[in-house]
């Protein structure tokens, strides 16, 4: 393999039901930075069925070029079809790096593609950069349950691939005037290429708010003690126009739905405001929330780990502090 033959940064533009996923925009934001450092084009790779409007959106969010493979067989994600189309395009167009969101799609698709291309894949990255001398992609990820950060290189294979944790990088602001080339191709795919058949799709909680999108989060953990304990947290969240979430303990105890879990095995969030109540701050939880802009922790234990990442730590009982906070916030809002 002559690695000099491989040029350009690709971003997998994940869409579901014709809706572009937030992680794709985050990847474009980071991909733009990497492509500029390398002095190469940023390409968004879009697979789907009649999603032309998404192709335009990708340009507005930073792509120089959109390679858009269209087929009715790509309407809904399937490992076999997506892998074939992507690998065929990579073999033909030879990008040097491919970023894929570490979603339930990306973490299924990424390793399959990497194995077919005989290249390296770094999972669930939280940091990406270019080495100024070698120009190799520097991929940083947590290991050992978030206890350790490892920086990984794929120096002699191309493309360099990574799945990237959603919620870590920032998207660029939308610019409708940006110009980019959209290359629409019909995907070379037949029904026999797809060996799995989806017979039923069930959305578990239609009303759930995606905590990954929330600007203000009020989260509770083991220290809340019961399902009823979350009522006052809900009330605080409502007062702040925020969303409720929880640590693994809250989900395992059945106090909250799994979709509300923050942390290594749940979701990574980076809201403007994160209020952690009765959460001690296991390393797996911190991994999912410590990038939040402003963190308030309410905990009886002044020495708990959550206090070390908090911007404001309140030592006390949430049952006493939160009702007072709700009252004070309501008063301040009325003064406006």
């Amino acid at each position: 393999m002559n690695i000099a033959d491989y040029k350009g940064v690709w971003v997998f533009a994940e869409q579901r039901d014709g809706k572009l996923q937030k992680v794709a925009l985050e990847l474009l934001g980071k991909g733009r930075d990497l492509a500029d450092k390398l002095g190469v084009e940023l390409t968004a790779l879009l697979l789907g069925n009649d999603v032309d409007n998404i192709a335009k959106e990708l340009v507005a969010y930073g792509a120089d070029k959109v390679v858009y493979a269209n087929s009715p067989l790509l309407q809904h994600f399937n490992t076999d079809g997506y892998t074939k189309v992507i690998c065929d395009l990579v073999t033909e167009l030879k990008p040097e790096a491919i970023l894929v969101g570490a979603s339930f799609i990306g973490r299924d698709l990424g390793p399959r593609v990497a194995a077919r291309l005989h290249t390296g894949l770094t999972a669930d990255c939280t940091g990406l950069d270019i080495d100024p001398e070698t120009k190799h992609l520097q991929m940083t990820r947590p290991a050992f349950g978030g206890n350790l950060m490892a920086t990984i290189e794929c120096s002699s294979n191309r493309p360099q691939m990574s799945t990237v944790r959603p919620g870590v990088f920032e998207k660029l602001s939308k610019d409708q005037d940006r110009k980019g080339e959209i290359q629409k191709i019909s995907a070379d795919l037949a029904e026999k290429d797809i060996r799995t058949k989806v017979v039923e799709v069930v959305k578990a909680c239609k009303d759930c708010i995606d905590i990954g999108e929330a600007k203000i989060i009020v989260a509770g953990g083991r220290g809340i003690g019961s399902k009823e304990g979350f009522d006052v947290l809900q009330e605080l969240a409502a007062t702040l126009d925020g969303t409720i979430a929880g640590s693994r303990a809250a989900i395992d105890n059945g106090w909250l739905d799994k979709s509300c879990q923050v942390g290594q095995t749940g979701k990574t969030v980076r809201p403007n405001l994160y209020i952690a109540c009765g959460i001690s701050g296991a390393i797996q939880h911190l991994a999912g929330m410590q990038e939040s802009d402003y963190i308030i922790a309410i905990n009886k234990d002044a020495d708990s780990s959550i206090m070390k990442v908090a911007d404001l730590g309140i030592v006390g009982d949430y049952q006493k502090v939160i009702p007072e906070m709700i009252a004070q916030i309501t008063t301040l809002k009325e003064e406006k």
């Binding site: 299924d108 390793p111 999972a123 050992f144 206890n147 002699s156 060996r195 030592v315």
Partner: protein, 259 residues
């Protein structure tokens, strides 16, 4: 039916602590366990064994001491166990690991290959799909329910916001998540069996895989550096009566325009 379960012995990362003085991982005294998702994979294989009389074989790659994890799997009810153990496998990333395991699997009969979704020491979730690709068989990841109707499987695959039901023909590779089942404990009868049962040790010479695809040399990714995560700068802490603490918090929220 033949079922092969891919299983890894891992340090119990919930027990891993950081030495506050040196900032390095303290590994001494950390217990080794069967990776949790792999245990769900094994449990499902054992459930299918009870229903269909399938033979359950365990394969793993690791140092000789990983035999203890395989004996535990036998004590839970698995029939055979193979450990890939050879210095030639050392330093493998996910691609090299999957090449070794796929090489071993080619020597075995399988209708279903089960793996855990991911191992808690690496959290990559890559080895399962990479094995499926090397073997040229379909994969279904994030599996939370399995029904077998002869050579057709009906599999419930979890999504972030729900699930889908997928039908697939064997052979297939499935990766298990904890929602799939509740793993059983070892039973007395099988614990005794586990003492007498041989865990087969396979070296690189026992699998037909090009040496350049194995171990450190067969790994496209390399760890360049590692570091412990720095906590961010110390914030402020207040220890006041509830009313005053709440008033202070509210004033901060106003100052920062959250209200």
């Amino acid at each position: 039916m033949n079922i092969v379960v891919c299983l890894k012995q891992v340090p119990d990362t919930t027990e891993v602590k950081i030495d506050p003085k040196t900032g390095t991982l303290i590994r001494e005294g950390v217990p080794s366990i069967i990776n949790p998702d792999d245990k769900n994979a094994l449990e499902e294989a054992l459930v299918l064994k009870e229903k269909t009389g399938a033979k359950v074989t365990i394969i793993s790659m690791g140092p000789p001491q990983a035999q203890s994890a395989l004996r535990e799997a036998i004590a839970m009810g698995a029939d055979e166990a193979i450990l890939l153990s050879d210095r030639a496998f050392g330093g493998a990333d996910t691609l090299a690991t999957s090449n070794a395991l796929a090489g071993a699997l080619r020597k075995l009969d399988y209708d279903i290959i089960f793996a855990g979704r991911q191992a808690i020491d690496g959290d990559t979730a890559q080895v399962g799909p990479e094995i499926a690709e090397h073997l040229g068989i379909p994969q279904i990841t994030y599996v939370e329910k399995v029904e077998v109707k002869e050579e057709i499987l009906r599999v419930q695959r979890a999504w972030e916001d729900g699930y889908e039901v997928i039908e697939v023909k064997t052979p297939v590779l499935l990766t298990a998540i904890k929602e799939l089942n509740q793993p059983r404990y070892m039973n007395m009868k099988d614990i005794f069996k586990a003492y007498n049962k041989e865990v087969k040790i396979w070296s690189a010479a026992d699998i037909d895989v090009d040496k350049s695809l194995l171990g450190l040399g067969g790994s496209p990714t390399k760890v360049k550096k590692s570091s412990t995560k720095e906590p961010k700068g110390q914030g402020e802490s207040v220890n006041l009566p509830a009313k005053e603490a709440a008033a202070y918090a509210a004033s901060k929220l106003k100052e920062k325009h959250y209200i």
